[in-house]
């Protein structure tokens, strides 16, 4: 078995349809919407939204494939690096623990998707999470996956948990709350290891944080996640604090996300003007 598996070699059965972030960004249906219906003025996934069920199912499928890739990424970190010289034994133990957690999340996601009425492969699989897990530096993987993407997962699970709560769906709320607990642990793992490994290597720490920022920006694309109600997913400040983010770090992500949202709104206006 090779070290460092390229994203295109991820093994899937025939139900899955994989796309890259480039594919997604090039798709005019998702990149720019001209939908100006009042119901979309507040994009947060709430039961009152006309398309709430489908939006929640789509998000749930996104969580499902994201969990698969998180499982695969943590597993590859166990394999890709030599124990001791390239990655500490204890870091690998944490990654193995994350494998088990992510495997449970895949199981939970399957059950929830079934509960919500969708099927495996009903939506496309964006493989960007695994791409962030392909760095040849384990610290960059921790920054990109555990801090940026698992941080996003905290936001997503908080939003879905609140959706379940408002919708009176205790099954959804229960499961999301349990996954949220695990994600806080994973983000904290990333924060702790990042600080520990780069304690005496400021250059490596900067490189890792820069990489995290790139991934954060990528996932703020279109203002998908921000503190504004216009974003489908909120920013879960409290749980991020529990996971080791300080106020300044959360503010940076909040600003980044709002800027992305404003960019998107400007692009929508531009597209609408062009149509008129």
């Amino acid at each position: 078995m090779r070290k460092f598996l390229p994203v295109e070699d991820l093994a899937r059965d025939e139900r899955f349809n994989q796309i890259t972030m480039n594919d997604r960004m090039a798709d005019q249906r998702t990149a720019i919407t001209t939908d100006s219906r009042p119901s979309r003025a507040a994009n947060r996934i709430v039961p009152s939204r006309a398309d709430a069920s489908d939006a929640a199912r789509g998000l749930m499928h996104g969580i499902f494939v994201g969990e698969i890739q998180a499982l695969e990424g943590a597993g590859r970190t166990c394999w890709d690096f030599t124990t001791g010289s390239e990655a500490p034994f204890e870091l690998k133990l944490d990654m193995a623990r994350q494998c088990w957690d992510e495997a449970r999340h895949v199981e939970i996601s399957c059950k929830l998707s079934d509960w919500m009425g969708s099927e495996i492969g009903e939506y496309a699989e964006n493989t960007v999470l695994f791409q962030a897990a392909c760095s040849n530096d384990p610290v960059l993987r921790l920054a990109g996956v555990n801090r940026a993407l698992e941080g996003l997962a905290i936001d997503v699970f908080t939003t879905m948990k609140e959706f379940g709560e408002v919708a009176g769906d205790q099954y959804l709320e229960f499961a999301e709350d349990w996954m949220l607990a695990d994600e806080v642990t994973h983000v904290k793992m990333g924060s702790d290891w990042l600080r520990k490994i780069t304690e005496n290597d400021p250059e490596r720490r900067k490189k890792a944080l820069d990489f995290q920022s790139v991934v954060d920006k990528l996932f703020s694309y279109g203002g998908t996640r921000s503190e504004s109600q216009e974003s489908p997913i909120g920013l879960a400040r409290r749980f991020r604090e529990l996971a080791g983010f300080d106020d300044q770090e959360i503010d940076v992500i909040a600003d980044l996300s709002l800027a992305a949202l404003e960019e998107r709104k400007a692009a929508v206006l531009e597209a609408q003007a062009a149509l008129n």
Binding site: A11, L71, G75, A96
Partner: protein, 219 residues
């Protein structure tokens, strides 16, 4: 209630534990070091394979088992200093070069259509050998002096039995044709021959027999 001043035997009539054991502190540490090395190699391989298997149920099972073997490695890592090995890395080694070769052969399959080979290597070869090695240690070490190792062995063995059953059921569910039976048995045989030369998880004497090196058996 009985008289609290009345002397009682230090060992109750039902407590049949004995002091003598087969292993010295050094030999117990050597074995524990080999356990850690093998469990480490196993959890690394299971983690690496997750992305290479297309079957969703297998993918998830490998994720769960990856952690279990990492936890076993951690248990043995923590036990080593208690066995007077203050530098656990010194004893975290393969028992011999044949075991290194076994790990190389075990982890060779990568392609998505080789799930049977991946699972056979782990669940029909490696884990049964773990069960043998751990059982031998549990049954032969001192009930009293090596009780901490025995406690870990019992936890670990419970995992190994459960994982072996999970893996065997997955293999049986994947094998659908006679040629796939051949694939499984051929791969099992080739790996078993390497482990025969290795003498088991801790090398010659893993389960009490001082297996001689079978020169030429691998070629």
């Amino acid at each position: 209630m009985a008289d609290s001043k009345k002397p009682r035997a230090p060992f109750a009539p039902w407590d049949r534990r004995e002091l003598p054991g087969l292993f010295s502190v050094e030999e117990s540490a050597r074995r524990v070091g080999a356990y850690k090395w093998c469990e480490l190699k196993l959890f690394e391989a299971l983690g690496g394979w997750i992305a290479t298997v297309p079957e969703l149920d297998v993918k998830m099972r490998l994720g769960a088992h990856c952690y279990k073997h990492a936890w076993h490695a951690e248990l043995w890592h923590k036990r080593l200093p208690e066995l007077r090995e203050m530098n656990p890395d010194r004893l975290t080694v393969a028992p011999n070069e044949h075991m290194v070769r076994f790990i190389e052969a075990l982890t060779e399959p990568e392609a998505p259509e080789l799930t049977i080979e991946k699972l056979v290597g782990v669940y029909r070869v490696f884990i049964p050998h773990f069960i043998s090695a751990y059982t031998f240690h549990l049954n032969n070490t001192s009930d009293i002096t090596d009780a901490p190792t025995m406690r870990s062995l019992r936890f670990v063995l419970q995992d190994e039995f459960e994982d072996w059953r999970d893996g065997e059921m997955l293999i049986q569910s994947l094998i659908e044709t006679p040629s796939e039976v051949d694939r499984a048995t051929n791969h099992q045989a080739s790996l078993e021959k390497i482990l025969l030369a290795a003498g088991g998880i801790t090398g010659s004497g893993t389960i009490g027999f001082n297996t001689p090196e079978h020169e030429g058996a691998l070629i």
